[in-house]
């Protein structure tokens, strides 16, 4: 990789400083006059040729660019898009928030949103959302994550879902039905073992990000939800990852690991290449980011099914980015115009769905583009499934996503180490959450 220890240290320093700036901001409360979207501007806001700025993180560049281009073409207002590397996005926003330089609109990884709404970085758009004709069908997970003290601040920008992918060619060779993916955790285990039994050089049953907290959150949490259990309490301060369903999930992966059905690289996988083996056709079945369907289909004949729980069920991690108007925006009415357009059929179907991105509205799951590919339909439908969630907690990052987080320790112990430490590892997550 291109980062040297030196730049990494430098980055960490900047991050630290920016967090300090952010903390200082929080301490002051939202004392500044946050902009309000005026109610007389109508449900669509103002389209008067204002230049708006929009920030987002690099992984969602493609989708953001599509949206911005389509908006600029059809509106007087013009949006300027700024992309920031994923690892540095929090730093950038923190620095800008401290000096009052936030752009008009900015998107945020949905798991960070609660932290930022609490810090007062977004403008309140509760009333405007209520005016939208589509209000009832907007993805609930994202809306909930953007709600703080009963006020709504954030709309879904781009959804990023997790689903189960399998390699149809390997399934055929293993004598499995290539059109039928796993519907329970036990079937997942069986099918992975069946592919492993092919005993081909470099081909494995499954793979996962064994040292990547975010990957674990993204792919294993839905297994717990689909089983009807929760990973945290409502407030996001207590970990429930020692429950029965969670234990089943760990057991499944431990069994697969002991049977040698997990790629050896999984053990130290920090996230940069956790899907590479599947993309090269060397993995049978694994939970996977749905956004990569098109790219992966170029090299592998992919089957798609929702992530199952212990006894069936279907769930997904509703990730991706939420978007809101910043506290520093000087043109909140014009910014709202972009947001209201974003929720329209035009943006959701003609821009997002046309490019195989899941629409953020449940009533659009079955659109003209999804009908062409049943796999896309599967993905769209699971986004609105009852057991699909966007988990949120103020300290989500430290507890789960950070390198060496207590969650990483927990699942590494469960799969590779001493499985007897579950309770105390779970306790450590609770501790991190409630700090």
């Amino acid at each position: 990789m291109t980062t040297t220890p030196r730049t990494r240290r430098a980055r960490r320093l900047v991050a630290l400083l920016a967090t300090g700036a952010l903390a200082g901001l929080t301490a002051c409360g939202s004392g500044g006059t946050a902009p309000t979207v005026s109610s007389d501007a109508g449900p669509e806001g103002v389209d008067d040729g204002t230049t708006l700025t929009l920030w987002t993180r690099a992984p969602l560049e493609a989708q953001a660019q599509l949206l911005v281009d389509a908006y600029n073409e059809s509106h007087e207002n013009q949006v300027e898009l700024t992309i920031t590397p994923n690892d540095d996005y929090v730093t950038r926003v923190g620095a800008a928030a401290g000096s009052g330089d936030l752009p008009d609109l900015f998107a945020a990884d949905i798991v960070y949103v609660p932290n930022w709404t609490e810090a007062g970085l977004f403008a309140d758009i509760t009333d405007k959302i209520a005016e939208l004709p589509e209000a009832g069908s907007i993805n609930q997970g994202h809306l909930d994550a953007g709600t703080y003290e009963d006020q709504q601040y954030v709309l879904p920008f781009v959804l990023d879902l997790s689903v189960m992918f399998w390699n149809k060619d390997l399934y055929r060779q293993a004598g499995l039905d290539p059109e039928q993916g796993p519907t329970t955790l036990a079937e997942y285990e069986e099918q992975a073992l069946a592919v492993q039994a092919l005993d081909q050089e470099g081909v494995y049953g499954t793979a996962f990000g064994g040292n990547c907290g975010g990957c674990g959150v993204f792919t294993w949490f839905p297994m717990v939800w689909a089983s009807g259990e929760q990973v945290m309490d409502e407030a996001g301060t207590e970990s429930l990852l020692d429950g029965d369903a969670a234990t089943e999930v760990y057991d499944t992966f431990r069994t697969l690991q002991e049977a040698g059905a997990v790629t050896p690289a999984s053990r130290d996988e920090t996230g940069a290449t956790w899907v590479a083996d599947f993309q090269e056709g060397r993995v049978g079945v694994m939970p996977y980011p749905a956004t990569l369907l098109q790219g992966t289909s170029e090299t592998v004949d992919v089957g798609v099914t929702p992530i199952p729980g212990v006894d069936g069920g279907a769930s997904t991690f509703v990730g991706g980015d939420g978007i809101g108007i910043s506290k520093d925006s000087e043109a909140p009415d014009a910014a709202w115009n972009f947001l209201s357009w974003l929720m329209s059929d035009e943006a959701q179907v003609e821009v997002l769905a046309a490019n195989d991105v899941t629409p953020a509205r449940t009533d659009l799951a079955d659109n003209e583009f999804a009908q062409e590919d049943p796999r896309v339909q599967v993905i769209n439908e699971v986004a609105g499934a009852a057991d699909s969630r966007t988990p949120f907690a103020p300290n989500f990052q430290q507890a789960f996503n950070a390198p060496g987080s207590p969650w990483v320790t927990l699942f590494r112990n469960q799969v590779y180490g001493d499985a007897g430490t579950l309770e105390q590892d779970n306790e450590a997550i609770t501790e991190a959450l409630s700090q």
Binding site: V14, A58, P59, E80, D101, A272
Partner: protein, 299 residues
């Protein structure tokens, strides 16, 4: 109080160099005795060049999950060209910033180094210490205050502001290097120029600048490489996508959802980034090495 002038005249820069390393080229010992040298240097060359060559090869080779999923070709470069404002724009930004940094660094360090080496003025040592003190602070910690400061000057989010900040971080080394370079030149050289009627600036321009050329090349190349490759400073200071230098654009481009990295696009970006540095280094390496020697010989 200039530094004690060397009693013996410094050797002319080029004439003695070939003798410094005993030449074994023509008519030397048998080829066999040279073999260990070739094996050693060849091995070193492979070790140093391998990553670069590998990046170049990987950027055009097929790899699942990149723009070049089947067969060899330039798919990853197409990604690079089509990304946001396009690679041309980012290369231009990088060139403008690096060029400005080189010019500013050379200008300031030339005059600064000359002053520190040849003139005595009150507070000289303190001032030199102050310049070096920039090195004492980890530069990342200065970026947030600088960001606020630049915003007040109206220079935030501009290539000129970025170049000014990068220049500042180059100054300690550059001034130090130029001071040494000037001190390595015998004072008599300058004195005779003054006797012949040159002003101090005239002496600098006509006599001293040619003499410190190796030092200038070293400083310039260092400034260029640092500015060209810097990531963290533009990351904090530049917010407009159209003003990003290339390293920042490449860092953005390689990231996909869920922390997955597009290695094909990364390799293509690294190759494009490395090429100008390699070419410049090859073109200037003779002066570059001499620049370091001039400092070393001074002792």
């Amino acid at each position: 109080m200039s530094a004690p002038a060397p009693a013996r005249p410094a050797p002319p820069p080029s004439s003695r160099r070939p003798d410094a390393v005993p030449s074994r080229g023509r008519g030397g010992p048998s080829p066999w005795s040279r073999t260990p040298t070739y094996v050693l240097t060849g091995g070193l060359v492979i070790i140093f060049l391998f990553p670069l060559i590998w990046a170049g090869v990987a950027s055009v080779s097929p790899q699942a999950g990149t723009a070049q999923s089947e067969g060899w070709g330039l798919g990853n470069y197409e990604t690079l060209v089509g990304y946001q404002a396009g690679v041309g724009r980012y290369l231009l930004n990088s060139t403008v910033v690096s060029g400005l940094v080189v010019v500013l660094t050379l200008g300031v360090s030339l005059l600064g180094g000359y002053a520190f080496a040849r003139f005595s003025f009150p507070g000289k040592d303190l001032l030199f210490l102050l310049v070096l003190a920039i090195l004492m602070v980890p530069y990342a910690t200065l970026l947030i205050p600088l960001y606020v400061l630049l915003a007040q000057l109206g220079l935030q989010n501009s290539l000129v502001g970025l170049a000014l900040v990068l220049t500042m971080f180059q100054l300690p080394f550059a001034t130090f290097m130029m001071r040494i370079s000037f001190e390595a030149i015998p004072a008599e050289l300058e004195e005779s120029a003054l006797v012949d009627g040159c002003s101090t600036f005239g002496a600098l321009r006509r006599v001293l600048v040619p003499a410190v050329k190796p030092g200038l090349v070293t400083v310039g190349l260092f400034a260029f490489l640092a500015a060209w490759n810097d990531f963290i400073t533009p990351l904090v200071l530049i917010t407009d996508s159209n003003l990003m230098p290339l390293p920042l654009a490449v860092a953005n481009m390689r990231q996909q959802v869920m922390g997955i990295v597009d290695y094909g696009a990364t390799q293509a970006g690294v190759t494009v980034l490395a090429l100008p540095c390699v070419l410049l280094f090859l073109a200037l390496q003779r002066h570059y090495v001499r620049g370091f020697m001039s400092g070393a010989l001074k002792g």
